[in-house]
Each structure stands twice: as structure tokens, then as C-alpha cells.
């Protein structure tokens, strides 16, 4: 078995064709959500915080929230939607009557997760930039980080979804995994100031931490060697998880 990129793209285009039906209604909330976050956290909570790491609170949380948006854009796609396609719509059974193979499905779905993350995170970035919260030009470096975070959370979500046999278990993924990540990955407060260096080592396993740090580096224009570690983590974990899903998806689609 091997991946055929054209076939993987055909998988992606199936999802895109469905999304094209509803994008007008689903894109609009993509712009509202960041505004609500920035208003509540930045202007609301932020008005009690004079400054954080040398900037206003709303400036502080902006880069992390862009990464959160990418995470959320990918996550819904690769959890509930994959489950629906697998179980109810029998989309993969249909694909496997054509030259498409399980590996193509895996890659196509991951790329679609990246696409959705890019739409979601991209919209968020535009809003952030429109409010003047993205220092130019170096904040533009955060743009490629959006699909990268999308890839990471597609890989994580798919590794989970393909191992799960009931739809009820997805709520655990959101409440016990994504929500804590959202709160404790350095988006709202500097983790390294609250944790001892020992615990900080442990916190390095948190997947959202790395895209958030990368985005913060891009927004501030200050880069350290840590950038390399964050990139290595993000690419590395994505690759490992996608590879580990090959066997599982093949087992779920073929007998």
C-alpha cells in the first residue's frame, strides 16, 4: 500500500463539496467567535490586568487564540465528522469500491482537517490583524503555523477517532482533552512562570503548547532555539500519529 496524492485529494474534495453547501452559514461564526473571545478575555478580564509579559492582555492572548482556532477547526472535522462518514454515511465503503485505498483516505482526511483549520484559524488571524493586534510584518510568520497546528490536531484527532467505536466517546475528547489544553497551554498566562522547571518539563508533552509558543515568537519577532524544538515536536508527533493510524484505518476499512 502507498499513498496516491491525486486519490487523497479526491477524498478531500468530497468533504469540500459538502462544505461548499454550507460554507456561507458556517464561515460567519468563524469571525464572531474570535471577536467574542477577544472582547471577553482581552477587554473584560484584561481590564483588570495592566500588562502581561510587557504588553496589554489582549495583545498577549491574540497569538495563542489563533492557534486555538486552528485546533478547533481541525478537531470537529476529524472526530464527529469522520465518525459520521465512517459509520452512517459509509463514505469510505464507497471510496474503497474505486481505486482509492485506506492510506489515501487517511491522507485525504488529514489534509481536509488542515484545510478546515486554515479556514478557521485564517479567519481568526484576519480579525486579530484588523484589531491591530498582530505586529507587522513579523506576525505574518504565524500564517504558516495555522495549517501546521491543523496538521497536528488532525493527526491527534484521527488517531483517537479511528480507535473509537461509539460516538459518545467524542465528548471526552473535547471536555477532557481539548478544553484543558485550551486553558493550560500558555494561551492565557505564561505557563513557565507558574510551573517549576521540573513541572515545565512535564508540561512539554501538551501538544497545543508548541504551536502557541511558535505563534508567540512570530508575533513578538523574538526567536530562540526553542523554536526548533517546538517545530520538531509538532512535525514529529504528527508524523508518528499518522503512521500509527495507517494500520488502524486499514483494519477498519478492509476485512
Amino acid at each position: 500500500m502507498s499513498v496516491s496524492v491525486p486519490h487523497a485529494l479526491a477524498v478531500l474534495r468530497r468533504n469540500a463539496a459538502m462544505y461548499a453547501r454550507t460554507w456561507k452559514t458556517s464561515l460567519l461564526p468563524n469571525f464572531f467567535e474570535p471577536v467574542l473571545y477577544l472582547a471577553a478575555m482581552g477587554v473584560g478580564v484584561g481590564s483588570y490586568i495592566t500588562e502581561m509579559a510587557g504588553m496589554s492582555y489582549v495583545e498577549y492572548i491574540a497569538p495563542g487564540l489563533v492557534m486555538v482556532a486552528a485546533m478547533q477547526g481541525a478537531s470537529f472535522e476529524v472526530t464527529y465528522n469522520i465518525y459520521v462518514r465512517l459509520t452512517y454515511e459509509k463514505a469510505y465503503d464507497a471510496m474503497l469500491t474505486t481505486p482509492i485505498e485506506p492510506d489515501d483516505v487517511l491522507v485525504g482526511e488529514a489534509l481536509w482537517g488542515v484545510t478546515r483549520a486554515s479556514i478557521y484559524g485564517g479567519a481568526f488571524f484576519l480579525v486579530v490583524a484588523a484589531f491591530g493586534l498582530a505586529p507587522m510584518p513579523h506576525a505574518l510568520l504565524a500564517i504558516p503555523l495555522v495549517p501546521l497546528a491543523g496538521l497536528l490536531f488532525s493527526a491527534i484527532g484521527m488517531a483517537y477517532s479511528l480507535r473509537v467505536y461509539t460516538i459518545d466517546l467524542f465528548s471526552f475528547y473535547f471536555t477532557l482533552f481539548l478544553t484543558p489544553l485550551f486553558l493550560f497551554s500558555g494561551v492565557f498566562f505564561p505557563l513557565e512562570e507558574r510551573l517549576s522547571s521540573g513541572w515545565m518539563m512535564v508540561a512539554e508533552v501538551l501538544p497545543l503548547l508548541h504551536p502557541v509558543r511558535l505563534a508567540r515568537a512570530a508575533f513578538s519577532g523574538e526567536f530562540s532555539l526553542q523554536v526548533l524544538w517546538d517545530l520538531a515536536y509538532t512535525f514529529g508527533l504528527s508524523t508518528v500519529l499518522l503512521l500509527s493510524s495507517r494500520r488502524i484505518i486499514s483494519r477498519r476499512l478492509t476485512t
Binding site: 479526491a10 468530497r14 459509509k90 465503503d93 464507497a94 481505486p99 482509492i100 476485512t255
Partner: protein, 308 residues
Amino acid sequence: MHVIEAENVSKRFGNRIAVDALNLRVPKGACYGLLGPNGAGKTTTLRMTYGVTRPDIGSIKVFGLDSVKHGRAVRSRIGVTLQDTVMIEALDVYDNLKVFGRYHLLSGVELDRRARDLMERLELDSHAGMPVKTLSGGFQRRLAVALSLMSKPELLILDEPTTGLDPAVRVTLWELVRELRREGTTVLLTTHYMDEAERLCDELAIFSQGRVIAEGAPKALIREHLAREAVEFEIDADDDAALLQGLSISGRPLRIGRRTTVYLNDAAPLLARLREADPEDLGNMVVRPTNLEDVFLTLTGTRLEGGA
């Protein structure tokens, strides 16, 4: 040249044998039917044919290629209509065809042309822009078949194409299958319906619990296993031995409750006896040509007890 060749193929799920020592040869241009009740192994056989289920023993060659090892190549030349609905319900007919065509890497003008041709051919164009979920069962099934024709397949696999359809739609689909065959397409289909198999297929394999229990042309199968005529009538279990005594009956009488079916080459002597025995009850008597259903019931004895 055989389009499909299966040699001694077996597949089990856990300790249930789904397909047991299957041998299958489907000649180019033929319509081959797999006939059998629920759970007999028909779908499993089809899935092994297009390489998505791996046989435990043996292998299936399609166009001379191993269907598992060369799955991609095999599936680029075949079309499959699955038993379950797999269309995208939110999308319309035309978009569904395009999505499916892309799975075969069709694009641009060619993709559009094939989608339109098939909509015209299967009389779907009046509903081209309707979301699939609003279509009737008959339209949906025609679309399902249209999807599998997007690749212009040399081999068309149909898993229970007419289950749950009304008679008019069944006839339309039968006509389509005949037309495709005239164009040289080989067809492998499964069905529960004996009449469908008899009308469409030039060769059949009758499945029961994973095994092929009989194989051949529909007419030959009937001739080989049973006499020409079937007589159905109602009689008490105790009385049939006397009634049937001395008649040349083929196979064993089949009975469900009081309803008894007997096969003979010449029904006349039995009819005379029935008339004599009970002139009142003739309304319940049916004389008809023996069909595949009779062969199936005789071979499997499902739900039936032997008489006499």
C-alpha cells in the same frame, strides 16, 4: 477468457465461516448471479472480488490480476453498487456523480460529460439539482448504479440491486443491465429474488451458509434438480402418502403446514387424483412450471419438512 476466477477461496470471521471453498469462473460478457438467503456469503464474495476483503485461503483473480495485491488496478476497471446507500444525501444528483467521478481521477470536461451522459441515460436529469435525500427509493437506486458507471467499467458488480424496489423500477434496472451487457460489460450480481436471477443471469451460483450448493444456467439448474412441473395443493400430512403413491415424483414433496408442493414431468395423473379426492378444494391448487425457488428449497430444505 475469464474475467473473474476464484479458486478454493475461503473466508471466516471469528469462528463463523462466511465463504467456504468457493470456486467461481465468470466469462467475459456474462451475467453471473449469486443467489442466496441473508448471511449466505454473497456480499463477502463480492468484497473479495474487488479486493477489500482478504481471503484467508485461496485468491481471486480479476482480469488476471490478484484482487488484493493489485486492488487499485482492479478497481480502476470495475464499478460496484453496494447494498447500502452510500450517496451524499445533502448533495444533489449531479454533484454526487462528480464526487464519485473524482474518485476515479476524472476531471474537467470529461467529468462533466460523463455525469451528464449518465443522468440522461438513467433518466435522472429531471432531478439533477435535487438533494439526494429528497429522492424516492427508485431514483436513489438508479443514482447508485449511475455512480458505479462513472468509470465506464468492464465489470459491473451489483449487490442486491433491486431489493426493496417496486416492480416498475426493477424492470427498468433489468433493462439497463441487459443494455450494458449488449455493450460488452460483464455483470456479477447478487439477489434474493429467484425470478430476477432467472431473467437476467446466464449463470448462477446458489449459496447456502457460505457454500455454493448448485451452479449452472438457470434452466439447466432446474432441469438437473427437479421435474418440469410443480403442483401445489393443500392436504393433511397423513393423507399424502396415499395420494402420491405410484406417481413418478422428482425430489421430495415440500411442505409448509398443509401446503404441499410436488414436482413431476407430467402433472396430469396427480391432477386427476386431486379432483377425485376433493372436488371442493381445487381452488387452492396451483400448477406451474418449476422455478429456481423450488430448486433452492429442495436443495436447502430451509423451513421445510420432507413429506411422504
